[in-house]
């Protein structure tokens, strides 16, 4: 377990703040966290809220909404709440989409947030195309279920194009 950065007691609160996109993480014990949060935290809280509400504005008039709820993953459609009740994520993209929330959870489980160890020789995460494929395949299923066959055919063509791109040597070389 991590120690509090102010004293040497075990850290129980992990605070992650965003300052203009920069991430600032603090690990504190209960008493230091109380101090930290009651002194000089007001401007930072404002920043956190404004940072998130920009995203929310795309959807609704959520200037007052609680900044906890992230929109669902655009690839698999899972919300963070759903994940918390199921205990399983929906697709690999969730790890990018819910990176902040998952970092906290993963630190609780593993006491670390950075992988060390084996790395695949080709790193597919660099390629957006993998995630496009997930989304296209789910859309294809929906289209077929709704008997939208023309749309399904066009999605299938898109899937084939992306797959062909992925398998061509140039795509794997620069991914």
């Amino acid at each position: 377990m991590k120690k509090c950065e102010q004293c040497s007691k075990p850290a129980v609160l992990h605070i992650t703040e965003l300052h203009d996109g920069a991430v600032d993480a603090h690990h504190l014990c209960e008493s230091c966290a109380k101090d930290y949060l009651s002194h000089g935290s007001e401007p930072e809280v404002d920043e956190v809220e404004s940072g998130l509400s920009q995203e929310d504005d795309l959807e609704s008039d959520s200037s007052e909404s609680i900044p906890e709820e992230q929109p669902p993953c655009p690839n698999c459609g899972i919300t963070f709440k759903e994940f918390r009740s199921l205990g399983r994520l929906g697709c690999a993209h969730d790890y990018s989409h819910f990176r902040e929330e998952l970092s906290r959870l993963i630190e609780n489980i593993h006491s670390e947030v950075q992988h060390v160890g084996k790395v695949p020789k080709r790193q597919p995460d660099a390629s957006r195309q993998q995630f496009d494929l997930i989304r296209l395949k789910l859309r294809l299923k929906e289209a077929v279920d709704e008997e939208q066959y023309e749309e399904a055919a066009s999605i299938r063509d898109q899937i084939r194009r992306v797959e062909a791109d992925l398998r061509s040597p140039s795509a794997t070389a620069d991914s």
Partner: protein, 356 residues
């Protein structure tokens, strides 16, 4: 692969030979992997699950690994055959109970099994007899490298290999060692071992993994942390702990023999006598008695049976194995009779003093 052929033999990992085989039954390493281009299994509809299975099946059947793999489609198997594979440790209980399309690639020695559409797209495991984690790692790592040439794994530079559940993320590795600890159980010293393991973040489970009871004094020790440590470090931490537990179990065994050799000799001999003669016996009693006999053989108190036979009996007296052997469905009471008969037969044919 014909499952009926399997009933006539046992997995290589049961042969009871590797290092420290008196206490360490087997070493196992499992890697969890997912394909980057598909949603995770729980989020994949039937159609997508079928695509994942077809795709991985093709790759597994053509894998140029040291041991050729046969592929079984679990969704085509009867419940009894699925249970049979669980008892042989080739698939997980979760996979046996799954209703969707899934399968497994198995080597003929039953050392390697690659589960498709378990909780993750791919759960690969290598099993070895005795304390042999380095060999298990080399083999699974090789298979992982070969597959990676064919497929794109879901990977993130911060979180490592991405898994459906964040408890497996990072390396995706589960290193486990199956230990036979009758002396620590008999003296209740095992509680101290549990507490110490819990403190250093290692899990203790029974013979069949998560949620299973510790039957026959078998315990599986495994890592829980999968992220932030390298595979080599995780393997080393398990090795270090197992070395300590082995020393502890041996010291207690020696003390038991020294304090009351006669009582111990009596206990293990009676256990053997019951197994040789019983006409009906439950699975639980079988495990308990086999555990005594196994310790008796390792301490030189019994010499009428060999360790590989005892190891095999732990697996082959399980419900699905007995029913496969008899080629019929058996109710619990019928199984107890069939089990006793099978044990009598095996102990008679394996007795080095009576067989010609």
């Amino acid at each position: 692969m014909n499952l009926d052929v399997l009933t006539q033999r046992s997995g290589e990992w049961l042969r009871g030979t590797g290092p420290e085989a008196d206490i360490v039954i087997s070493s196992r390493i499992r890697l969890a992997r997912n394909l980057a281009e598909f949603p995770f299994v729980n989020r994949a509809g039937d159609n997508v699950r079928a695509q994942i299975e077809d795709f991985l099946r093709g790759r597994i059947e053509h894998l140029q690994s040291r041991r050729p793999l046969s592929y079984l489609r679990i969704s085509d198997l009867e419940p009894l055959d699925r249970q049979f594979l669980v008892e042989r440790q080739l698939i997980s209980r979760e996979q046996a109970e799954d209703h969707g399309q899934c399968g497994v690639g198995v080597s003929s020695e039953e050392n390697v099994s690659l589960m498709v559409n378990e909780e993750d797209h791919l759960r690969m495991q290598v099993l070895r007899s005795g304390m042999d984690l380095d060999a298990a790692w080399n083999e699974i790592n090789e298979i992982d490298d070969l597959l990676e040439q064919e497929v794109a794994y879901a990977f993130d530079s911060q979180f490592g290999y991405l898994t459906a559940c964040p408890t497996n993320v990072g390396t995706g590795i589960r290193v486990s060692v199956m230990l036979h600890l009758p002396a620590l159980v008999a003296t209740k010293e095992i509680q101290k071992v549990f507490q110490a393991l819990q403190k250093i973040g290692l899990a203790v489970r029974g013979l069949y993994g998560e949620g299973s009871q510790a039957m026959g004094d078998f315990y599986q020790i495994s890592n829980q942390v999968t992220l932030g440590k390298s595979e080599a470090d995780i393997i080393k931490s398990i090795k270090d702990v197992v070395a300590q537990i082995l020393g502890y179990e041996r010291r207690v065994r020696t003390a038991l023999v020294k304090e009351n050799r006669q009582a111990l000799h009596d206990q293990v001999s009676r256990a053997f006598g019951i197994l040789q003669n019983a006409q009906t016996i439950s699975s639980e009693e079988t495990m308990h008695l086999l555990s005594s006999v196994r310790m008796g053989v390792n301490l030189g108190l019994i010499d009428e049976v060999e360790i590989p036979t005892v190891n095999e009996l732990f697996i082959q007296t399980q419900p699905a194995h007995l029913q496969k052997l008899r080629h019929q469905k058996l109710e619990s009471a019928e199984r107890n009779v069939a089990r006793a008969a099978y044990i009598r037969q095996r102990l008679a044919e394996n007795n080095p003093h009576t067989s010609a």
